[in-house]
Symmetry: C2
Subunit: 144 residues, 2 copies
DNA sequence: GTCTGGATGTAATAATGTAACGCTACGATG
DNA sequence: CATCGTAGCGTTACATTATTACATCCAGAC
């Protein structure tokens, strides 16, 4: 769903960072897929007639996009998803369907810090739930 | 702290799985470190005069230990920590200090499923909080 | 112009993880 | 006892993921 790119433009303008064509292109590729994308898949999808992309190209763009709160890294998959709401990168909770691989992002209310050790200062949280989404539960007869 | 190995022996006996010498050795190495350990570090620490360990050796042992609930994988670090309480593998919440790298494990009360999408059936959760532990906060003067 | 810092190109390699196949040892079963 | 099936491990090769280091380019400040 476009709108993501335009939102990203606005968000970057507002925060004073540069969404260059290359970075925008990577964001577009991540956003277009509705499932988590691998870095090397992105690499192979970049137009090699115009840019000469190598691994650092993609990883740098992803680093930027993650810092900007436009993309999340799905840690347990080594993959990346577009953030539907620019700039809310920090508090995201991801629900990943292991059947269709789609990811639903929920803006966490300070996710899961119950029983936090005394005085621990949390800077960044990774919260990923793996399971089966409703749609797959309904459609699959006798799926594992 | 030993006790972990003995607990693991008991746990495996109870659940009818085999903690072989190799698996026990890997668990020992993970438990001995009080920080997350990398798979290839384990590989290099295994006694190569007695076993001829290759990457699959370590990964298979780790898979077993994780299945058995004796070890956790720290997803965002590609590293592994011993579980202080055998068999509670599923519901763990990890607090990882980015300064000293030590991990504190908390047995989660069904960690962070607030705002769960309708009907999503969670099978496995990854909950990792990164920050600074109390001890590092106190000891470090003007640390970033 | 020219300087500068951020962005990108480039080459090489490091680090992490898996597939596929074979062998061995051991318990179950006839 | 024989032999069968399976778990565990060895072994080779390779796939995937990620980084380091250095060169170059380019837009804006001066």
């Amino acid at each position: 769903m476009p709108g993501i790119l335009e939102e990203a433009d606005k968000h970057c303008a507002k925060t004073g960072v540069r969404l260059t064509p290359l970075r925008r292109r990577v964001l577009e590729l991540v956003a277009r897929a509705d499932v988590p994308v691998k870095a090397y898949d992105l690499l192979s999808q970049i137009d090699h007639t115009r840019t000469n992309a190598k691994p650092p190209t993609v990883y740098r763009a992803l680093d930027f996009l993650i810092d900007a709160g436009l993309v999340h890294r799905v840690e347990a998959l080594n993959a990346f998803v577009a953030c539907p709401q620019a700039g809310h990168g920090h508090a995201a909770v991801l629900y990943v369907c292991e059947n269709c691989t789609k990811v639903t992002e929920v803006q966490g209310t300070r996710p899961g810090q119950e029983n936090k050790p005394d005085g621990f200062e949390v800077r960044r949280s990774v919260v990923e739930h793996y399971g089966i989404c409703l749609s797959c539960l309904k459609n699959d007869t006798s799926k594992t």
